[in-house]
């Protein structure tokens, strides 16, 4: 669309700008402040320069948490994106099945995150939970509160349960926007199911899929409440992802300096990845 140049448009943006700046800029400055200083309580501060940044970047604890976080995000993207596309492809396109599918599939998205954690906790408990009990009954030694592997399995399954629907809804919307003429053309050409998918559906879904990956990356990288309620980061530190570790440091041990430095590094990583993604997305948009 041709946009007109109009500097007065800024007036329209002012309320949003003020509200977000009020919420983002001031707290972010506080974090920046802390990251360069040592606190002694009673508002006494001493300049520390980049000490906290060096400490965090070199600490094993941060490396471990970051490693776990990357592994987790990578695994859930690998499961959720293909699974979401697959389900969207098999969903009914018209009739009573459409609203039923949409409503039931959106359900997990609207449950408060700690309820999701609590629900999965109850569901996976080895003695009284359906999942835990069933797995033990068929011969697996499953106990997510004791064994790190089981804790990972439960956390990933929970996230798949919680968020795959978002990918499904996005892919479904992308598929619905394809004109029937494309399919007719494919049929005339005698295209196989796979090549229809590969050369028609996948390219048409590119935009929504980029968005799905972006959203899933951001949210899984920031995940806090669900694993906190489900496993509390345990057993040991097995599922202590970045946010959990950060909150432990900031509110648990009150190590404000290192926690603030970690926050900034953390934010920077998310920002960098999203910026790369966003640029790619915009480039595609300009091309098409």
């Amino acid at each position: 669309m041709n946009k007109t140049i109009n500097q007065k448009a800024w007036f329209f943006v002012v309320p949003v700008f003020v509200l977000v700046a009020f919420n983002a800029a001031i707290p972010l400055m506080t974090v920046v402040n802390y990251s360069f200083q040592e606190t002694f309580g009673n508002n006494v501060f001493a300049w520390e320069g980049t000490r906290w940044f060096k400490q965090i970047l070199l600490s094993e604890r941060f490396h471990d948490a970051l490693g776990r976080q990357i592994a987790f995000t990578f695994i859930i993207l690998l499961i959720q994106i293909p699974l979401g596309i697959g389900i969207a492809l098999t969903m009914p396109k018209k009739g009573w099945g459409v609203p039923v599918c949409l409503i039931l599939m959106s359900m997990p998205l609207l449950i408060p995150w700690n309820v999701v954690g609590a629900m999965w906790n109850i569901f996976a408990l080895p003695d009284i939970g359906f999942l835990g009990y069933s797995l033990n009954a068929i011969g697996f030694d499953f106990n997510f509160t004791q064994q790190p592997g089981d804790a990972w399995f439960t956390t990933i399954l929970m996230d798949v349960w919680h968020w795959t629907s978002l990918v499904v809804l996005l892919s479904y919307a992308g598929l619905n926007s394809i004109q029937p003429a494309y399919y007719q053309a494919a049929e005339i050409d005698g295209a196989s199911r796979w090549s229809t998918f590969r050369y028609i559906e996948l390219p048409k879904m590119k935009k929504v899929l980029t968005l799905a990956i972006l959203l899933r990356f951001m949210d899984s990288f920031m995940i806090y409440t669900e694993p906190f309620v489900l496993t509390g980061g345990g057993p040991g530190n097995a599922t202590a992802f970045l946010s959990i570790d950060l909150v432990k440091m900031a509110l648990g041990q009150f190590d404000l300096g290192p926690a603030a430095a970690m926050s900034l590094i953390y934010f920077f990583i998310v920002l960098l990845v999203c910026w790369v993604f966003y640029s790619l997305m915009m480039k595609n948009e300009v091309k098409s």
């Binding site: 629900m119 919307a173 926007s177 900031a250």
Partner: protein, 266 residues
């Protein structure tokens, strides 16, 4: 193969419903039954857990608080985002692209990063433990989202609509409220749905910014695990009840969800 296509979504929905069923199942059991026996449905059916929630005001006020700040937040976010999204979709102005990306970066900020500074900041302006504090803090991620979705919907409306209205002698305000807003009503509905959703499910900030007066239900729930022993039945009942507002909201926007996803950008 086509014949069995329905199997995939069906199995997926069963997988989605299982934990929810288990939660509801637990909520109708007595504490002794939960602890001592494993059963697929309640043997001694009881509504005691629900009665407790609806008669104890520390419990049901949690719901009132959560709904209050969620509604506040939805209204603030959409009201502020409407003019901004219009500006982004119709005009070029100094720094527009940077501003748009800056807004999005706030959607990317981990709430854990902001928890402590928010607590200090809202305490210092005397808004700690109020509904408005939570509503304002949730603007951090909901306003960028609202601008983003609305901008998508508005850009889909041809600019000729605006121009025709001006030629017909409409003033900007009259055009915006009488013609433009009804045109993108579906988009506004979808935006409100997402704002409601993200404000309703968020807990970290809501919990950090409240103590008693505005405490969300989700935070009240964490109490059962610590102070009064492990009252799983009560926890399950409270959890089951938190699903209802979401289900109602989905029911209202059911016809727009797919369309909204396609046109808007989330």
């Amino acid at each position: 193969m086509k014949k069995y296509k329905w199997l995939v979504p069906t199995l997926y929905i069963i997988f989605l419903m299982l934990p929810i069923y288990w939660l509801i199942n637990m909520s109708f059991k007595t504490t002794t039954e939960i602890i001592n026996t494993y059963s697929l449905w309640p043997r001694e059916f009881t509504t005691e857990n629900y009665v407790k929630i609806f008669t104890d005001n520390t419990w049901y006020m949690g719901y009132v608080n959560s709904i209050t700040y969620t509604v506040f937040n939805t209204l603030i976010s959409v009201a502020a985002a409407l003019p901004a999204a219009y500006a982004f979709s119709r005009y070029k102005f100094l720094g527009d692209k940077h501003l748009f990306f800056w807004l999005l970066t706030n959607r990317m900020a981990p709430p854990a990063v902001f928890a402590l500074p928010f607590f200090q900041f809202y305490s210092s302006v005397n808004l700690f433990d109020t509904h408005i504090a939570v509503a304002l803090s949730h603007c951090l991620f909901n306003i960028p989202l609202a601008v983003w979705i609305l901008e998508g919907f508005m850009s889909a409306v041809p600019k000729e609509l605006d121009e025709t209205a001006y030629v017909d002698g409409y003033s900007f305000n009259r055009f915006f409220f009488k013609i433009f807003i009804p045109t993108i009503a579906a988009g506004i509905g979808i935006t409100m749905f997402f704002c409601f959703m993200f404000s309703w499910v968020e807990l970290l900030l809501a919990k950090t910014l409240t103590a008693t007066a505005a405490k969300p239900i989700a935070a009240t729930m964490t109490r059962t695990a610590s102070t009064s022993g492990y009252e799983l039945g009560l926890l399950a009942a409270a959890g089951s009840l938190t699903i209802i507002p979401g289900a109602i909201v989905i029911y209202f926007v059911r016809n727009y969800i797919a369309k909204g996803f396609a046109m808007g950008r989330v």
